[in-house]
């Protein structure tokens, strides 16, 4: 493996969340506009100062990033559309960081957002991908529920995980979410409630599944010195990786691209897994969080259940995980779900996480996972950030 150039000097700043709602009559453009607007306002910048833009959205059609430039009246000299769902945040960060390092852009706004009309989710599923339309959607599963039911059932059978293990993650994340003002779920969740919830696609029950909603997330990528000049709190990018359609011959997905890229990630970042103070996994279903913990080296493959039993996962406990509640407790605002962990990581590393602040957080890891094209998620990525 050739040495990868690091992300020295690149900062991420201004974590923005446009408060989520279950349903919205606005279009995706509205949510993305609000995200960009808040980025500029909080950074004290005019539109012209942001010369790079990445856009991620499922519901922006028929527009893409280019159409959004005219809609929002911006004239970037560097533009990228990153339609990678849950992997969008990490990938947008990587693209933007390289643009900043190369001087193709000075300040890149990475925005992600989706609306959710009453029928949006069904329409997104019906037209998600060619493979999904031909080989999954006609089977009635209603999107990724069935795919994750298969993965969860297989994982439970193979590695001895129990519903209680997955429930522990959901319950801990809900506890974190109660200290995150933007979380749509405001009530505590008990393990008993988790276990007695109605079945959706066995073995998945209600609290294993994210709730689709409308919302947006955003952050800025810029040089460290520029962040200092703007006087905005920032985090440094220590390392970032992506890998897509990894292990295509595995008959069922028990691992993803993180397993291939993990060593490169830690080498690039110059930290070891046990030096990471908190982790934000992509969590549309708890089983995929456990797989990320394994593939990213926090425990071995198949050791996820034991790892879950040994830790508490609350922001103030052992192994703080999904400290804002994750998508399971905040809601899944389409492609913004792929930004949620990264945005929360920036908050944690800039001391902006309020009551859920992880004490002494210096190094955080955020990972992404996305695009259930047929029977598995194709995109994966991870980034390690550090306080300056």
């Amino acid at each position: 493996m050739s040495a990868r150039r690091g992300y020295d000097g690149v900062a991420v700043a201004v974590p923005v969340t446009v408060p989520y709602v279950r349903y919205s009559v606005r279009s995706a453009h509205w949510w993305l506009a609000r995200a960009l607007g808040e980025l500029l306002e909080r950074a004290g910048l005019g539109k012209e100062a942001v010369d790079g833009l990445t856009v991620s959205s499922f519901t922006l059609a028929p527009d893409t990033a280019i159409g959004l430039t005219q809609h929002l009246g911006v004239s970037p000299r560097w533009l990228d559309h990153v339609p990678l769902g849950g992997a969008s945040g990490i990938v947008a960060l990587r693209r933007a960081a390289r643009a900043v390092q190369a001087g193709d852009a000075e300040i890149v706004a990475c925005v992600a957002g989706d609306t959710n009309h009453v029928d949006s989710f069904r329409l997104t599923l019906a037209n998600f991908s060619q493979f999904a339309r031909d080989a999954v959607y006609p089977y009635g599963a209603g999107g990724p529920n069935a795919s994750f039911a298969f993965l969860t059932a297989y994982y439970m059978r193979t590695y001895g995980a129990t519903r209680e293990d997955f429930g522990k993650l959901c319950v801990a994340q809900r506890a974190n979410a109660l200290k995150y003002p933007h979380a749509l779920f405001k009530k505590p969740l008990t393990l008993k409630e988790y276990l007695s919830a109605r079945p959706i696609a066995e073995p998945l029950h209600l609290f294993d599944c994210v709730m689709p909603c409308a919302g947006a997330e955003a952050f800025l990528v810029l040089a460290e010195e520029r962040a200092r000049a703007l006087d905005v709190p920032y985090a440094r990018v220590l390392g970032a990786v992506e890998r897509h359609n990894a292990f295509p011959s595995d008959p069922i997905q028990m691992r993803a691209g993180w397993a291939l890229e993990r060593d490169a990630l830690y080498a690039q970042a110059g930290v070891a897994a046990d030096e990471v103070d908190f982790v934000e996994t992509y969590d549309d279903y708890p089983v995929i969080s456990v797989m990320q913990l394994e593939d990213l080296g926090f425990c071995g493959k198949g050791e996820g259940p034991a790892f879950v039993r040994e830790n508490t996962f609350t922001h103030d406990g052992s192994f703080p995980l999904n400290t804002s509640g994750g998508q399971l407790s905040v809601g899944q605002a389409g492609a913004a779900g792929g930004f949620l962990g990264l945005v929360e990581a920036i908050r944690q590393l800039t001391g902006a996480a309020g009551d859920r602040q992880v004490a002494g957080a210096k190094v955080g890891l955020a990972s992404g996972f996305g695009m259930i094209n047929f029977d598995r998620g194709l995109g994966s990525g991870a980034a390690i950030l550090a306080a300056p």
């Binding site: 006609p138 009635g140 039911a149 959706i200 696609a201």
Partner: protein, 414 residues
């Protein structure tokens, strides 16, 4: 284990009739290769002609070597169920009405993994299964995993019945009971568990050969029906149209010869009047009621069978005007299929070679025995296929036609 189906109770006419809904029917063009094979009862997947890799889902290029030379080849479907789920939720109306619904992820021995509907007798994962393709109510192919060994009452499975048009406990109209094929059909449908069989005959004032044998069957009701008489068709449709679950249109007028050996158009007109306009009259009178009953409980309206002919694909000059009338019927049946599909009612077209009857006296064997034809139609209903080519001659003509239709035209003219 599957519970044997029981005869449904009489319908309460005051209660709502459930309206037909369809599973999602959109497919990419390449994926319709699965449908094309399933329409004939085959499970075929794309195989790379360069490296042999088997592909799924359907695609334009080989996932292993990037070759675009992919061809559809029949598969045995042997595989292992890796994981299964029971859906308790769906965003789709069709499935919402049928929850809970079982799905599985199967790794085929041939390589790819498939998401499949599960027969109720498939054991929880891990389990060996036999994967096949069936047409769903939208008329599109879906993958179905069956237990690897036959189980009792297998055909009565709730999920499988959604893909089939099983005659069991269904009410069936056979439009012509006077022919050998008609009588074989009635007996085969009765043996397959049909609840009630109306049998049409054109001249009710006289008994035809085999009348008594039909009348003895407890399921059979003989009805005067003449498909060349619009009034007759309308009256019978008014009487029974709202109850017919399967309509088998076997009425046929068949004479030999083409153009030069015949004076005038009277014979050709008679062929058209039965073979083409007969179908049109039936479709206009029975179609609407059957469409409205496409999801009417366990014994819904489910299928419309047309006795076409392999001569519909390419004209057989010694039976030239008959071929033309069957080509017209085939074309109309495609229109009927398009119009019945939104209701989930399957149009089954049957393309036999020469039938072993009096009008094919001079044809050399092999010919299709009426009993064999009837068996093929019952099997087609059970398997839910929509194009049936029964008998060796039909199979051979089909293959020759698919390979080179121009060559077949020349060969038939020889």
């Amino acid at each position: 284990m599957t519970q044997a189906l029981t005869r449904p109770k009489r319908k309460n006419p005051v209660l709502r009739t459930r309206l037909p809904t369809l599973p999602p029917g959109a497919r990419s063009r390449i994926a319709l290769g699965l449908t094309a094979a399933a329409a004939e009862g085959r499970f075929a997947l794309q195989v790379c002609r360069d490296c042999g890799a088997v592909q799924y889902p359907p695609r334009e290029a080989c996932h292993a070597c990037l070759s675009v030379r992919l061809e559809w080849r029949a598969q045995d479907g042997a595989g292992e169920l890796l994981a299964d789920t029971v859906l308790h939720h769906s965003n789709d109306l069709f499935f919402r009405e049928r929850l809970p619904w079982r799905l599985g992820l199967v790794r085929l021995d041939a390589g790819p993994a498939v998401v499949a509907h599960l027969h109720g007798d498939v054991r929880p994962a891990p389990a060996r299964v036999r994967v096949t393709a069936r047409l769903d109510r939208a008329g599109q192919a879906v993958v179905v995993a069956l237990p690897d060994k036959e189980t009792p009452h297998m055909a009565d499975d709730r999920a499988l019945r959604e893909f089939a048009c099983d005659p069991k406990f269904r009410k069936i109209l056979v439009t012509d009971g006077k022919t050998a094929v008609g009588q074989a059909l009635v007996k085969a449908l009765a043996a397959a568990g049909a609840d009630l069989i109306w049998v049409g005959h054109t001249e009710p004032w006289k008994k035809f050969a085999g009348f008594d044998a039909l009348a003895e069957l407890p399921q059979v009701t003989l009805l005067p029906l003449d498909v060349t008489d619009s009034k007759s068709v309308r009256e019978i449709a008014a009487e029974i149209g709202g109850k017919v679950d399967i309509l088998v249109n076997n009425a046929e007028y068949h004479r030999a010869f083409g153009i030069g050996n015949r004076a005038g158009i009277e014979t050709a007109r008679a062929e058209m009047d039965v073979n083409y306009f007969g179908l049109l009259r039936l479709a206009q009178e029975f179609g609407p009621a059957m469409r409205s009953r496409g999801a009417d409980g366990q014994s819904s309206a489910v299928a419309w069978v047309n006795l076409v002919s392999i001569y519909a694909l390419a004209n057989f000059p010694p039976h030239g005007t008959f071929s033309a009338s069957k080509a017209a019927a085939h074309s109309l049946a495609q229109c009927l299929r398009a119009e019945m599909r939104p209701a989930g009612v399957r149009v089954v077209n049957v393309f036999p070679g020469p039938i072993d009857d009096e009008w094919n006296q001079l044809m050399l064997p092999p010919k299709v025995a009426p009993e064999a034809l009837a068996r093929a139609i019952v099997q087609a209903l059970r398997d839910g296929v929509e194009d049936v080519y029964p008998g060796d001659v039909a199979q051979e003509w089909l293959e020759r036609w698919r390979e080179n239709p121009k060559a077949l035209e020349r060969e038939l003219a020889a």
